[in-house]
Amino acid sequence: MQKQVNEILAQARSEPPNILQALLVLQEKLGHVPLEAVPEIAHTLGTTTAQVAGVLSYYPDLRVTAPGRHLIRICMGESCFANGCGRLLREVQDRLRIDMGETAAGGKVTLDTMSCAGNCAVSPTVIIDRDLYGRVLPSQLDAMLERYK
């Protein structure tokens, strides 16, 4: 792990070192930022573990655990709220039997919310991995989730 972290960070070096961008690169490559790598990251960036841990805990998108193979994000922004995202969230939770922020058994899918995808005019919005779906109806959920089996 130490070697891998170092290799990744070597490619993302900047002057002065940028903790957030370093963590984002690590997450991009590893899927998450392992907590046990924090001292090594701090050492490589020439900063303290407290600084790195502080940044890591601050940003909602930084994960310290591996996400499922698929990441489902349901927009909870106001336009989606007005268009029934609450019901979508409940139905997805029922189908997958998981709570927000949780990963389903078997590590298949992680469910999360987000606060706006900028797709408000074609809402409600659901994003699965890199695919964005608009005007999502509860009746379409089964077919949609089927694609990410």
């Binding site: 002065p16 070192p17 940028n18 903790i19 957030l20 961008q21 370093a22 984002l24 600084q51 502080g54 940044v55 601050y58 940003y59 909602p60 998108d61 930084l62 927009c75 909870m76 922004g77 106001e78 336009s79 989606c80 709220f81 007005a82 268009n83 609450g86 987000m114 606060s115 706006c116 995808a117 900028g118 797709n119 408000c120 005019a121 074609v122 809402s123 919005t125 890199r130 964005l132 779906y133 608009g134 005007r135």
Partner: protein, 498 residues
């Protein structure tokens, strides 16, 4: 052999979400079609919209599916774009070319008047550029509505080894998407605005802080920067002016300019106390102009057409046009660029087209998560900064979200407070503690165990947050909650424990 017919289809994220992707896939290998992927006109209720040239200007087909191809190729059933009321009633300047051009076609951008603002700026002194902006009376479109020229003057006069220009592409207000449309659809307009600013203040380097939720925007912008570099546009008085796209990590408060700068430096996105203002001491302590994407994109026209042109549009204290973004339960959600001054009702009726089928109006929220709610009785308010300030409301970034009769106001109020509690940066107590207490009170009321005292407490808490918070997140967060209680008191009272 007959020539392939040129068909135009938007590649905007929301056009794709509406179904443009399958249309493009189905037609991509049809020899009779030359498909051109454009920006979107913003009439999202009509997307996917396919257009073709005609003697009458562009003809459009609405809500197209792959099966509509024969119809479109035969030329039957198309509507002249200039007769679509949603578009025809708008006053488009910043968004004039949307739906017409390919986002990365620099030659097309230039052919339609792009880069003329920059050319003008390059011929002028920094003082003369700033004077043009003073005359224009342009105010920032990111939320705070501060006069643009004023910030530029401060940054210009500051002495420093380096200065920076930062475009705020965090677009955190739910219900807003005009920055995303610009980034994806007309990226050179943003770059041109940033270059004009750099030239005026003497900046060495530019950044675009783009929210992580906008991957297509970041990719398009990076490609545009590359093209601009190849065309040697990133050159100011012989000096290379690099522009870098930096992505955020899902924090709303990082849209606040000082938190944004902390985040750009790679730190926790915590709000800085002001003064000093970023224009005096911003990124790495250097003078920095942080401005919204829409603000920058408005500037090229001001330089090429003149400040007086801009000042002639709008109302006394709100000059120019505003990009309003309709969402929620309106029949016709989409982008509306109009001069300031129309009433909220006119916007909802003329452009929104009334309510979505089966929906009855309950309230409309203007200005994102920090904006107030308006009931049906208050829709005559003109859309301009001065009228909103007088009403204790904000236009923010122009988001307009309509709620229908099924909306549970207690649930909505709880949703707002939960959002603030989640997004508070924690720097000041009224917001950090207040938002959590506020959320707890609303959860109690929602669960049926709240009391009259809880409503009083919530009102007190809201007043404290308004006056004592360090930034507008804590300072404005009470507004949607308190206006919900003000306009729909029965819904809250009926949920109280008796």
């Amino acid at each position: 052999m007959s020539m392939a017919t040129r068909l135009f289809l938007s590649n905007d994220t929301s056009a794709r979400a509406a179904g443009a992707g399958p249309v493009a896939d189905a037609w991509s290998d049809r020899p009779e079609v030359q498909l051109i992927r454009t920006s979107s006109r913003g009439a999202f209720f009509l997307e996917p919209m396919v257009e073709r040239d005609s003697p009458d200007g562009r003809l459009a087909w609405f809500n197209v599916t792959p099966q509509d191809l024969p119809l479109i190729l035969s030329g039957t059933g198309g509507t002249p774009v200039r007769s679509i009321p949603f578009l025809a009633q708008q006053t488009r300047f910043t968004f004039a070319d949307f739906g017409e051009t390919e986002p990365l076609a620099l030659d097309e951008y230039q052919a339609r008047g792009g880069l003329q603002g920059l050319e003008t700026a390059l011929r002028r002194t920094p003082d003369a550029i700033i004077e043009e902006l003073r005359v224009s009376q342009l105010r920032g479109r990111g939320g705070a509505a501060f006069p643009v020229w004023n910030k530029w003057k401060v940054a210009q006069q500051a002495k420093a080894d380096e200065k920076y220009v930062v475009a705020n592409a965090d677009e955190g207000d739910a219900g807003t998407y005009c920055d995303r449309m610009i980034l994806e659809g007309d990226p050179f307009r943003l770059l041109e605005g940033m270059l004009i600013c750099a030239r005026a203040i003497g900046a060495n380097r530019g950044y675009v802080y783009c929210r992580q939720e906008y991957p297509a925007a970041a990719a398009t912008l990076r490609a545009a920067i590359h093209k601009a570099d190849e065309a040697e546009l990133l050159d100011l008085d012989g000096e290379f002016f690099p522009i870098e796209v930096v992505e955020g990590a899902g924090s709303y408060v990082c849209g606040e300019e000082t938190a944004l700068l902390e985040s750009l430096e790679g730190k926790r996105g915590v709000v800085r106390a002001r003064p000093p203002y970023p224009a005096q001491a911003g990124l790495f302590g250097r003078p920095t102009i942080v401005s919204n994407v829409l603000t920058f994109a408005t500037i090229p026209n001001i330089l090429s057409r003149g400040g007086a042109w801009h000042a002639a549009l709008g109302t006394e204290q709100s000059r120019g046009t505003m990009a309003l973004q309709l969402g929620g339960r309106v029949k016709q959600p989409g982008l509306v660029e109009v001069s300031f001054g129309l009433s909220l009702r006119q916007v909802l009726d003329q452009f929104g087209g009334g309510m979505a089928p089966g929906a009855r109006f309950k309230a409309v929220q203007v200005g994102g998560p920090l904006g107030s709610l308006f009931p049906a009785s208050q829709l005559d308010i003109p859309i301009c900064y001065e009228a909103f300030a007088e009403a204790g409301a904000v236009l923010g970034h122009g988001g307009i979200v309509v709620y229908d009769h099924q909306t549970d106001m207690v649930d909505l109020a709880r949703h707002f407070m939960a959002f603030t509690a989640h997004e508070s940066c924690g720097k000041c107590t009224p917001c950090r503690i207040g938002s959590v207490r506020g959320r707890e009170i609303l959860e109690r009321i929602q669960a049926g165990s709240g009391t009259v005292d809880d409503l009083v407490l919530l009102a007190d808490l809201g007043e404290t947050m308004k006056v004592a918070s360090l930034c507008a997140l804590g300072g404005r967060a009470p507004y949607p909650v308190l206006t919900a209680i003000e306009h729909f008191p029965a819904e809250f009272r009926n949920r109280l424990r008796t």
